[in-house]
Symmetry: C2
Subunit: 207 residues, 2 copies
């Protein structure tokens, strides 16, 4: 492991990316170390020189991803912002920035969360639950409910706003499929996004 971490960062990144992608799209069981090394452009031996086996690599990736997501996303969201929509908006910006910096981590964590085809060692399990906890707080802690219209159930409005934001993200991802994230001007998409945000405000907040 120290072996791996004292490696040329570019090579590290290439290996991490390759492994993250493989595990993300095949899950732990069906992921192939052969494909990982091929994609990473290293010999088979090196992978098992850096990590003692497949599971070790997988757990390293989880720890790495947890750290990244918490440090570059969750912990940066302003939880003193009591306006739900504003907080969500801020969170999206931060998340997007993090995603540009490290494209595959979120995909990987996504499939880890919903396939869980391997039980984690306790210390990772703990950090993983921490992440879920932080994700929950991000959405529900310290929100000013008086901003919402009086004539709709606040929790339902919550969800509709959430689903709206998620839906847009999902839709955008689909439309941008294949495009290179770099060399791409996001401004028009941000504008579009803000337009949706305004509609949500207009629809679910008191006027």
């Amino acid at each position: 492991m120290e072996k791996f971490e004292s490696l040329d960062p570019d090579k590290q990144k290439k290996i991490l990316d390759s492994a993250l992608m493989e595990f993300a799209e095949k899950g732990y069981g069906q992921a192939s170390t052969n494909r990982i090394v091929k994609q990473a452009g290293i010999g088979k031996g090196m992978l098992f020189y850096y990590f003692k086996n497949k599971k070790d690599l997988y757990e390293y990736l989880i720890e790495y991803s947890l750290n990244f997501i918490i440090d570059s996303y969750l912990s940066l969201v302003d939880k003193n912002e009591a306006d739900f929509i504003k907080r969500l908006k801020g969170a999206c910006q931060i998340k997007m920035k993090a995603q540009m910096e490290n494209e595959h981590v979120f995909n990987f964590m996504g499939t880890v969360m919903l396939t869980k085809d391997l039980d984690l060692p306790p210390h990772l399990q703990k950090r993983y639950e921490q992440l879920q906890q932080q994700g929950y707080e991000l959405l529900y802690e310290g929100i000013d409910k008086t901003l919402f219209r009086k004539d709709v159930d606040v929790d339902k409005a919550f969800n509709l706003i959430r689903w709206g934001v998620d839906g847009y993200q999902q839709d955008l991802l689909q439309r941008l499929q294949g495009k290179k994230m770099t060399e791409l001007d996001f401004d028009p998409y941000w504008d579009e996004f803000y337009a949706y945000i305004e509609i949500l405000k207009k629809s679910f907040y008191t006027t």
Copy 2:
């Protein structure tokens, strides 16, 4: 193929379900005929007695699913209903009924649509595009746009409503994970759903 279709319907269903599930969660390439026959409770030989090979089976499933989805869902939606929300509500009811009748078809078609790891023979390709076309019309054809608030972009409102409905469905599916679809009272969930619908109406329609 005629062999398969002149089979005891219960056995047919068991084989279809098994295959639909396997392909749905592994995709064409990673799906295993061994697992399919085991899950279906038949000998290996039978699968290749009914279908000449894996691809043949896969294409049969696609045709079967296309037929089912069109006949028991898309073609039943009332496209004369000009009220977007009402139409969507009706569509959900019909879809749910269809889904109860044939749990795995929609999952299967879902992964087929977004993985497309095999190109279809022309006649299936054509029917497949037909399906997409009908899905599109279901949402966008003959909608009365005057029902929407004047101060929001109609297309964006469209999408937000769609994402809301999809979001609820997704959320419900998660909450009901593991529960047996049969022996389950859906009424409270329908009520909840209608409550969301009412909120959407209140938020995006003219008052």
